[in-house]
């Protein structure tokens, strides 16, 4: 430590001198930061390099072809891309209204005393490992779907054509429902945080104008938090797109395009995890390339989500479920 014995001579702090501990400290921090950045780059580059043989031998058309038949050299990825988006769509269609309703209830309706407990309960859903949801879905929910839920939905909504075919239990619908349960906590936790950021004056103003509680929520709170909510939904979508084991356990794993909600199907992650062990050569490169396709979709969705949430409510929102 240096002793400054002439304080009057220094109207503003003197330029810090070079010192080993200070610069060493900053160097350690910078090196660690660079290491993480390098890791991210290494990850991206190695994914691209390993996927390249698939593109150089097969071109790009396989990504949108329909037939997956590795023994005959057909590597159509379309059924899996569609499957990925279909289960995600089911999950999001269920999770958006229910997640928003839950977040509103948690942020504005639940009495103060119960709020923390209920919030924690919902957030703890996010901590349960996905493979446990998969196990639960496969052993407990699938038989219920086969015996009760699917026949019921077929009798009520069969005319739409969405529920053709036999009741399998496992399939698109069950995978979508399991995903819905899994992404709900993410959606609720972030939505609740961005809803709470809406200024109190606006809420009070609306109440003073005679709005009912629902009108306050509908016309002031939700619009005020719009972009943050959109971010929460997008983030949950990203999580759903990338989920592997829970979906792989309950989707039935069929490499054909699903013709109904009850059909077994497959997603890109389930394709990879089911075929990885036995693949070599071109098929392995195709799996890497499928992973790259998934990664690109995932990064795009996540970047948009982060940007939306950040711009709405700062960068620390939703820390509990990260």
């Amino acid at each position: 430590m240096t002793v400054v014995d002439t304080p009057a001579a220094a109207p503003r702090p003197a330029r810090r001198r070079w010192s080993l501990p200070d610069n060493g400290y900053r160097a350690v921090l910078a090196v660690a930061a660079a290491a993480v950045a390098a890791l991210a780059v290494w990850f991206l580059v190695s994914m691209i390099v390993q996927a390249r043989p698939a593109f150089s031998t097969l071109g790009f058309s396989w990504i949108v072809q329909k037939t997956w038949d590795p023994t005959h050299g057909r590597y159509g990825l379309l059924p899996f891309i569609l499957g990925t988006f279909e289960v995600t769509a089911i999950a999001v269609v269920l999770a958006v209204p229910i997640g928003l309703g839950t977040a509103l209830a948690l942020a504005y309706l639940v009495p103060q005393r119960a709020r923390a407990g209920l919030s924690t309960t919902v957030e703890l859903l996010a901590a349960i490992p996905s493979v446990v949801y998969g196990l639960w879905g496969l052993i407990v929910l699938a038989p219920v779907f086969r015996s009760t839920v699917e026949p019921f939905l077929t009798s009520v909504l069969g005319w739409t054509g969405l529920f053709d075919g036999p009741d399998n239990g496992v399939g698109l619908l069950l995978a979508g429902v399991i995903l819905f349960v899994m992404i709900l906590p993410t959606m609720v936790a972030i939505s609740r945080d961005v809803l709470a950021v809406v200024p109190n004056e606006q809420v009070e103003g609306a109440i003073a104008l005679g709005a009912t509680r629902w009108q306050v929520l509908r016309k002031v709170v939700v619009p005020g938090a719009r972009s943050g909510l959109l971010g929460a939904f997008t983030l949950a979508t990203g999580r759903a797109l990338g989920e592997t084991v829970a979906v792989a356990l309950v989707i039935g794993n069929s490499p054909y395009i699903a013709h109904s909600l009850k059909s077994p199907a497959a997603t890109i992650p389930s394709l990879i995890v089911n075929n990885f062990g036995e693949s070599t050569g071109t098929e392995l490169a195709v799996l890497f390339a499928a992973g790259l396709v998934l990664l690109v979709i995932g990064i795009a969705v996540n970047s948009v989500a982060r940007w939306l949430v950040w711009s709405a409510a700062g960068s620390d929102v939703g820390a509990a479920t990260r």
């Binding site: 900053r26 209204p97 309703g101 919902v122 703890l124 349960i128 084991v245 996540n302 990260r322």
Partner: protein, 302 residues
Amino acid sequence: MTTVADAPVDPTVERRRAVQQAATASLRRRRLGSRVALGLCWACLAVAVVPLVAVVAYVVAKGLPAWNLDFFTHSTTPEGIAGGGVWNAIVGTVVITTIAIAVAVPLGLTVGLFLAESDGRPAAALRFTADVMTGIPSITIGIFGYIAIVRNFGYSGLAGSFAIGFVMLPVIVRAGETAFRGVPRSLNEAAMALGARRATVARRVVVPTALPGVITGVLLAIARGLGETAPLLLTILGNEYLQWNPTKPMESLPTLIYSYSQQPFADLVQVAWGAALLLVVVVLILSIGSRVLAGRLRKERR
């Protein structure tokens, strides 16, 4: 009545009454709508809470019967042979996760400190990278582990640690940054004013003050890492025998649950439930512990 009817109708009174009626009707309508909509919100809350209760209830009900001394002390046995446990999977999970923590926690916290102290473009870019990394599909992290480690050194527990560490790293970075940023500026400045170097400030002021927050974040990251399955499926191969050596293929709890749940044999599914219960209990203890810690911290600050 006659007198009123005879008197010339006062347009103001008339209008006032019309407005009053309309307002009452509107209020009634809006109140009804409000009640219905808020009821739906409550219903949503119920729908959100039910699955947690259901999952936890099923895991406890089906997993508890699988628990006995053999379950925790013996390794897996093939279908039909009694006395099997998950000791090999417990050892694998503990070893793999410990190695991942040993690397990811110091590295992640250092980067968190860097982000807390830096503003500007490189820091913002790194922050964004870390956030996007938390959302990367975990199966692609498994592929990365396979490419980076398994291709060169074979399937091993270490390859699993690498992948799990990669999953935990961004979570720890962001949690660390949040905790370090929460240290009051005045404390920082006071230490600086006393002539402390930045390294000293970090070591003696920032890190101790932020410690509860840091521990909370690290516990959450560990909970996340413990349950990750997809990266391990591509990196550790699995091992039905006890294996302490992380350079060899290992078993783990999540991968065991994944493979046993697909078995047609009731006794193996039973083992899967038991392992699921163990995993859920550990993860919930970590998550709840981190919350309790965070709550206590908030109380102290007040």
